[in-house]
Symmetry: C2
Subunit: 435 residues, 2 copies
């Protein structure tokens, strides 16, 4: 077994900014062949509905059935899965669901309204989406935790129908995924995957109802299809590779830190793990731990590639500079493995989720801390947020003028509308002005 060769950067080097930019660069350019193929699938599903879904399911998942209704799994099948899975798994999923629900309930937004001195009523009405679609990857990578993280916020938001799609290659589905759907309260499940599933959720077919928003992770076909149907329906973010940034003061067990970096790297070869510390000897110690632990890992090959291609150990002058580097990166996951994480927190401006202190392994957040594990990647934490209840609610402005208020504000609107040359606007307001 060869060691992983990990890049070493120092914030004091004159070319640090450009080295960092190179480290973070990630090519998300669109694959034109995938694009063409996805457009074709979406067009077919949009125009031919169920029939197209059946054909693509037979072609891509080698699953042949007579009608799309045969692809629906009823609630009794989900319950059966829940009763089939090992008891410790069930208990863990239920505990995780409870914590996720508890956290997300605090995100729920309420309608509000107020009246000004003229009797004018202004407000904001918050309503849930009618229907949400949840894409769940099938096959080898089955992530039951992802079902909980996507479906629970939707149900907490008050979405009346959560529809899950999951591919079942050759008819195989993962019982942990179905059990999670039962626990999360998913309303309907169709074993359809790929771009055809996204198309069915966006446009609706005879059997699969159209939804208002599609969330959940998927491969390049799924991600491309989501990008394509955006506007017809809402979508969550288009995720890049997962990343972790660990800031450590050098006093955490280096094995812990190495394993935290691995927990990101094992996702896939493109995942990115970065450690920032003011302590050069600690960086050496973690590198030694990495090479000691690597051969013991089940996914050693993926981890080695990820660590070699995309990881970095960055030396900084102090923790203050570590925060500056972190804000520059705007990481998806940020571990503050330091003595006083609270003190550092105020300097952190951008991050998807912040893991405070030596005991808070990122893996805890992935599963059961409560907050969502669907987080903004590739620096998009500069402007976006974790998936949350707010993604399944929307707002309507409420405006109610009394005759008084319409008289007073109609005069203002009239001046502004005439200033913009919009005279129908002006006259519409002027009709409500008293003589």
């Amino acid at each position: 077994m060869t060691d992983a060769t990990i890049k070493r950067l120092s914030a004091s080097e004159s070319d640090f900014n450009s080295s960092l930019a190179r480290l973070l660069a990630w090519d998300d350019s669109v694959d034109h062949q995938v694009n063409e193929s996805v457009r074709h699938i979406l067009h077919e599903v949009k125009t031919r509905g169920d029939q197209a879904v059946l054909e693509f399911t037979e072609k891509f998942d080698r699953l042949k059935v007579g009608s799309v209704s045969n692809l629906e799994m009823d609630q009794s099948r989900l319950q059966q899965a829940l009763e089939t899975i090992p008891r410790d798994q069930r208990v863990a999923l239920e505990k995780a669901a409870e914590r996720i629900r508890d956290y997300h309930e605090r995100q729920s937004q309420k309608s509000w309204q107020y009246e000004d001195e003229d009797g004018t009523v202004l407000g904001q009405k918050v309503t849930p989406l009618d229907r949400a679609g949840l894409y769940v990857p099938g096959g080898k990578a089955a992530y039951p935790s992802s079902v909980l993280m996507n479906a629970i916020p939707a149900k907490v938001a008050g979405v009346s129908e959560v529809i899950m799609v999951v591919p079942a290659p050759e008819g195989v589905v993962n019982d942990l995924v179905l059990a999670s759907a039962a626990i999360a309260g998913v309303d309907r499940v169709f074993t359809v995957g790929g771009a055809q599933a996204v198309g069915a959720l966006a446009y609706g077919t005879e059997t699969i109802p159209a939804v208002d928003k599609i969330v959940g992770p998927g491969n390049i076909f799924v991600a491309t299809a989501k990008r394509e149907v955006f506007g017809v329906v809402g979508i969550d973010m288009i995720a890049g590779p997962s990343e972790i940034l660990v800031i450590c003061d050098g006093k955490t067990n280096p094995d812990w830190i190495a394993m935290d970096l691995f927990s990101q790297a094992e996702h896939d070869e493109q995942a990115q793990s970065i450690l920032v510390s003011p302590d050069a000897e600690f960086l050496d110690a973690v590198e030694a731990s990495i090479n000691k632990l690597l051969p013991t890992m089940e996914r050693a090959d993926i981890i080695r590639t990820s660590m070699t291609d995309r990881a970095a150990l960055i030396q900084v002058a102090d923790l203050k500079e570590a925060a500056v580097v972190s804000n520059r990166i705007a990481p998806e996951h940020l571990e503050l493995s330091v003595e006083d994480p609270e003190a550092m927190l105020e300097h952190i401006r951008h991050a998807g989720a912040i893991f405070m202190g030596r005991y808070t392994a990122e893996a805890l957040g992935d599963y059961c801390a409560g907050p969502n594990h669907v987080l903004p990647t590739s620096g998009t934490a500069r402007f976006s947020s974790p998936l949350g209840v707010y993604d399944f609610q929307k707002r309507s402005s409420i405006i109610g003028f009394s005759a008084e208020g319409a008289d007073r504000m109609g005069r203002v609107a009239s001046v502004l509308a005439r200033g913009e040359g919009l005279t129908a606007h002006a006259r519409s307001a002027e009709y409500r002005i008293k003589e």
Copy 2:
């Protein structure tokens, strides 16, 4: 002058659903030539920075300057505009700004945190974006109200730098727009427009700083460029043509309703105005008002085309059915011109902004009621919200485990991670479990 010929639908007809679908259909397919041209411009700006901005500005705006810093307007120029515009316009803009600020301050979200029985800290940290870019159209359609509606929520959110770009064809800028920028507290203004302005804001140049999110309306080049840079930066929605749906019980002055419909139609030929009423005679009366008032309108040609091509008068059985039709359409603007708008409100599930009662002309909301006039179009109110303070803030999850909590929840995470075959995750959690 010919009358406008307006479509008449009835919800009782057997083919109403398909007629309604045809009425609402709007082709937003991408123009490939525009796409190519926009990609070229973005690539040039990304790779050649200021120089490319100068070239495109000379080419498209016929404005030749020596360096991009010559395109920056300093604060004294904005103040000068504020002092130059007519006094009634200034007072109206300041009044509108005050109301917009007051309303949006109620949207601001606060960070929160709680501790569970194990001493585990969970929370959500809310932070403003560092920098926002505001695109403002120049030339003939100058909308100062749009500057207020886009910039004020950003400043209320706490964005430290709001950078406005506005094309100045042949060097001409609109003083109302500059005055609005002064009132709204815009930090920097560059007279650059088109896809080159979007590129400069997304990637940054030597002179124009990169922002985290770009908002504001623009032509097809601007909209295409925004869609293209989405992911590098955040963007607001991609707006379709503006629409209004008026629900009337038949007891509002038909001239008022006709003018409310016109106030939407005058925006452009593709704008859509729909009236829904249970009163067939009232629909006739409004049609008569439309044809009576049309010749008196300054933008009669635009209004006639819009009303003929895209408007409709829809008869329904009762107000309950009107709400069903409205939810189906999910309109950008919804006027409830009825006796008891509060009673109707609870049946309304999707709308960008809801205008309550006969006195609340939509035009009041466009300018100075307080709520934002940037609203979801083309049925996207099913899943999206008016522009707001929340668009300029983002959230980071906070997770802090005590040694106790890491022990207890580490066991749960370990079971789940092993269930998903992610052993680095499991071991990272297990390190924190007590022996």
